[in-house]
Symmetry: C2
Subunit: 157 residues, 2 copies
């Protein structure tokens, strides 16, 4: 039986980059409050595995056929939740917009508060987590063309 | 005598994309409050012309040799200020993070509040302005390789 690979925190679903869509017009996503936007749906991760937990994703830019060379996503980690510990060639930019959280990047562990901005270089092992009582939300901007993340520390199957 | 071209709101200074720098490591820009960050300096526009006024720019990602295919900038428009009315092939993503303002994009005029997110498609004539009493700040994300903006409505010289 083929072993299922662990689901990554920032894996790219096929619908995120519909190159064939060809839609490229002005768009507006009004913030409805509570870090939800009109026209932007939740993309919850499958809850398989123990690599990550309690994470939601909302794709602001990249799910509607835009030709940008980047995608903008909002991630929110519930109290006690965390992203997978992962590594990949593509870069991340993380900007905290809600609550506070922790970010491990390389060997550094930092607290992230409102508007703190991090650049996670190619190859840096990283994880975001929320040890606090309030939701921790951040914008995460990535290149539209990028490699698939690898779960760091997972044994090869 | 050669006529000086009007200075654009989102013109690319050479230091914003130092391809030769080759620096590509983890970085952290702590928010000091008041939408200023450690390690990020103001890049005020020259005050020539009447196309724009009272705009400051802080380049969060793109000024330190990152290889991202996008740049992230914070712009702030003072009360009564505005960006130039401009048009270009490259796309903009605008996310309001401070105060409120107005955005003209194509034929639509909209109010922007906290976390409202706009995608300005290639070729859309656009302008941002601040008719209110508080600063209007927003993140503006663009492709790292992009064409130079043109001031819309300026006669050819």
């Amino acid at each position: 039986m083929k072993k299922k690979k662990p689901t990554s925190f920032c894996e790219i679903p096929s619908e995120e980059n519909p190159a064939a869509a060809g839609v490229n017009k002005d768009a507006f996503y009004r913030h409805k409050g509570n870090f939800s936007w009109t026209g932007v749906t939740d993309q919850p991760y499958k809850t398989a595995g123990t690599e990550w937990s309690d994470v939601i994703r909302r794709v602001l830019i990249g799910a509607h056929g835009e030709t940008t060379r980047f995608h903008v996503r909002y991630f929110e980690i519930a109290p006690g939740g965390r992203s997978s510990l992962e590594q990949h060639r593509h870069e991340h930019v993380v900007i905290c917009v809600r609550g506070e959280g922790l970010m491990l990047s390389g060997k550094r562990r930092r607290k992230l508060k409102f508007m703190d901005t991090a650049y996670i270089a190619p190859g840096s092992v990283h994880r975001l987590s929320n040890p606090l009582e309030e939701p921790f939300g951040f914008l995460c901007i990535v290149n539209s063309r990028r490699d698939r993340p690898k779960i760091a520390g997972t044994p090869k199957s």
